[in-house]
């Protein structure tokens, strides 16, 4: 088994199917990569996958999470004629679905397309209405009897999209949210092969983030880390989007700031980035972030938590776009930061008396 091979491995990762609650295929591949990189692997009841850096029981314990699930669809009903009605898993934009190619995960993997009423038959009024999930259906091109034999309500459906390489280091595909961050974890692990941190580091590929940051909660409860960091994607700038909420693609990792983030961790991350010469950006939030950090921070007695973002465009579509250089820099920043952590730093994190 070969280890992580940068952008090629990332492209492979984007072909794997893992809607929330159905992450087994992704977990199996990641477990093999963890082992190839020399990590000890475990899985919990929800399906979170842990890769522990080998070594003595070290301190402090740091939990690094990136969710491995992706948004998708689930079969809600089979109509006469064998057409499939669907419900969303996570934040699917129904407007991106008409005429999308999909894979239906029935007894076998089946190719399908999302059908809709042709424009000739729809009224001008209808054509102005955005598609809603109730009106869409999936067509797998089989007679109804075969459909009923091969698929059941509850089977998952994923978007079928081969990843694309665009100019330079830019990659587009489905599930860049959040496989980009999983890739950053592996870039970090590769970086740490030569230089071992004092901290005990547990990497977690978490489940069910897209349906409400569920996996990260049980992951943090199990590991009881001294501190935690979530890596997830964030919005990169694109035409027509306010620059208050977006960051520059190729601008490096976003270090998150706000109530969800421990102020000392924010400072140490930005200082580490500056010392290492890693370009970085700051992403500010006014409440709980839409990442694993949301639950990591309030697990058990509370965990000092940080979050890094990788800027991507067109989030929650099948052409999510990222620059691999940002992924590499995120891994580098993470590795440098983990190397700088020690017991003394962690002990100060619960003291709010002199700030």
């Amino acid at each position: 088994m070969t280890g992580w091979r940068g952008v090629d491995s990332f492209l492979e990762l984007l072909t794997l199917e893992g809607p929330s609650g159905h992450e087994d295929a992704v977990a199996a591949r990641l477990a093999a990569w963890f082992r190839a990189e020399g990590l000890e692997v475990e899985r919990d009841a929800l399906g979170n996958l842990f890769g522990r850096l080998p070594g003595e029981a070290s301190s402090p314990v740091v939990l690094v999470t990136a969710h491995m699930d992706e948004i998708g669809l689930i079969i809600s009903d089979i109509e006469s004629g064998g057409f499939l009605r669907v419900a969303a898993i996570g934040g699917v934009d129904p407007r991106t679905l008409p005429s999308a190619e999909v894979t239906v995960h029935g007894r076998t993997a089946l190719a399908g397309v999302v059908g809709s009423k042709p424009p000739h038959l729809s009224t001008p009024g209808e054509r102005k209405q955005a598609a809603t999930l109730d009106h869409l259906f999936v067509d797998i091109g089989l007679p109804e009897a075969d459909v009923r034999r091969l698929v059941r309500p509850g089977d998952a459906i994923t978007i079928r999209r081969k990843p694309l390489r665009l100019l330079g280091e830019v990659v587009a595909g489905k599930s860049v949210d959040n496989r980009a961050s999983v890739a950053a974890l592996f870039e970090c692990i590769r970086d740490l092969a030569a230089r071992r941190p004092d901290a005990g580091v547990v990497f977690a590929a978490t489940v069910q983030e897209e349906v409400g940051v569920r996996g990260a909660g049980t992951a943090a409860y199990r590991i009881r880390p001294d501190l935690a960091i979530a890596v997830d994607v964030c919005h990169a700038r694109s035409p027509g989007v306010s620059d208050e909420r977006t960051l520059r693609m190729e601008g490096g990792p976003a270090v998150q700031f706000g109530p969800n983030i421990h102020p000392a961790l924010f400072r140490s991350l930005t200082e580490t980035a500056r010392a290492a010469g890693v370009p970085h950006q700051v992403l500010v939030g006014q409440g709980a972030t839409g990442t694993d950090a949301r639950i990591l921070q309030i697990t058990r007695e509370g965990v000092p938590t940080a979050a890094l973002g990788i800027p991507i465009r067109y989030m929650h579509t099948s052409v999510e776009t990222v620059n691999y250089d940002d992924i590499r820099r995120t891994g580098r920043l993470l590795a440098d930061w983990l190397l700088g952590l020690d017991r003394a730093f962690v002990e100060g994190l619960s003291c709010f008396f002199d700030v």
């Binding site: 109530p259 969800n260 921070q297 509370g302």
Partner: protein, 377 residues
């Protein structure tokens, strides 16, 4: 006065440092033990370390506020809310930006320059900005950076008949109640918890309750009150001057009936006025505390606050002192009869299904209703 210092201190969710500092200074002489946790919750332990029920009293330090998210080339600052702010209250208010309290005002297009149609719509947050008087973006950046918070610049002041106005009474009034109680001596292991991040989803209280794992938790809040002209009776929730409000039910919690009736009974015995908090809307730290670990017996007592979440909030100081009195009376009862806690915590177990044994009748404690005739009583 402590309520003034607490009200005027800046403490948006996640940035409660000034408030925490005021409380640390104020309570250091009275604490047996004082510490903070990874989120910034402040714990003040008083009384003996063991013996008697362990009671956690909680009030949140944070307030709703704004965060600077962009600095325009013209030097104006764009912002987003921290917690739930009605954007209609923002225009033409003074604010203080960041830890250095840079003064600013929230400006908007003058009414003369608006088209008649525009005048019909309230200003949205996208149309508003903070002006600190900077000539341009470069000068603004010398004073302010993205991520800085802004709080309302409202002075605490007493007015009318025993009323006080100020910002952030939700929940500095609760913090002040807790601080006054922490100064009194009880033969009970008490943990006063000043929580963080209530306004952005009750985030601080859960980890605090997990840590303390008390026998009883009492949340002290500044709560909704809209007892003014044109308000529908059912929107009033609470009425000022009628004393502390006991929660029966809100968006996150169904109060344990036995506990609520008992607290009302204590108020009745001591002649302390109280009222029911008459709405299922809103929520407070009890929502996070009562589901911590295996479940924690939790009650909530609130001071009615008019114009909550706005720059100018109003409390009735008699309600404030009666809230202190009620909580003191509750703690004294537990001090006298520590075994009460077992009765309050006990749940009747119903007969086993199919056993034919009838479920025991639900006890109905015989306690008086509110001491002042409320519309519900």
């Amino acid at each position: 006065m402590l309520l003034r210092r607490l009200s005027e201190a800046a403490g948006p969710s996640g940035f409660e440092d000034e408030v925490r500092h005021v409380l640390i200074e104020e309570l250091r002489p009275f604490a047996r033990k004082m510490y903070t946790d990874a989120l910034g919750n402040l714990f003040v332990e008083t009384g003996p370390p063991h013996g008697g029920p362990r009671v956690m009293l909680a009030a949140h330090m944070d307030e709703v506020a704004l965060m600077v998210v962009r600095i325009d080339d013209e030097g104006t600052l764009r912002f987003r809310p921290i917690g739930g702010i009605d954007e209609r209250v923002l225009v033409s208010k003074p604010v203080r930006v960041g830890k250095d309290r840079i003064p600013g005002v929230i400006g908007s297009k003058a009414v003369h320059l608006q088209k008649p149609d525009e005048r019909k719509h309230p200003f949205t947050m996208d149309e508003l900005y903070i002006d600190i008087g900077a000539a341009d973006g470069e000068q603004a950046r010398e004073w302010v950076q993205i991520g800085d918070f802004a709080v309302f610049a409202t002075d605490y002041e007493e007015f009318g008949e025993r009323k006080a106005k100020g910002k952030a009474f939700d929940d500095r009034v609760g913090c002040a109640v807790l601080a006054e109680l922490a100064k009194r001596s009880f033969q009970l292991p008490l943990v006063f918890v000043f929580t963080v991040q209530e306004e952005i989803g009750l985030r601080g209280a859960g980890p605090a309750a997990f840590r303390i794992n008390p026998d009883l938790a009492l949340v002290v809040e500044g709560t909704l009150c809209f007892d003014v002209p044109d308000a529908r009776e059912e929107d009033a929730v609470t009425v000022q001057g009628r004393g502390p409000a006991l929660t029966l039910l809100d968006r996150m919690t169904i109060a344990p009936e036995k506990l609520v009736r008992w607290m009302a009974g204590v108020a009745g015995e001591r002649g302390i006025p109280y009222q029911w908090r008459r709405s299922g809307a809103g929520a407070n730290d009890a929502g996070a505390i009562h589901v911590a670990r295996r479940g924690i017996l939790t009650g909530a007592v609130s001071v009615p606050v008019r114009y909550i979440h706005s720059p100018v909030q109003v409390v009735d100081l008699a309600d404030y002192t009666n809230t202190i009195a009620l909580l003191e009376a509750i703690l004294r009862r537990l001090e006298e009869r520590p075994s009460l806690i077992d009765r309050l915590r006990k749940r009747e177990s119903p007969g086993a299904p199919g056993s034919g044994a009838p479920a025991p009748a639900r006890p109905r404690p015989d306690v008086p209703g509110p001491t002042e005739p409320g519309p519900d009583g």
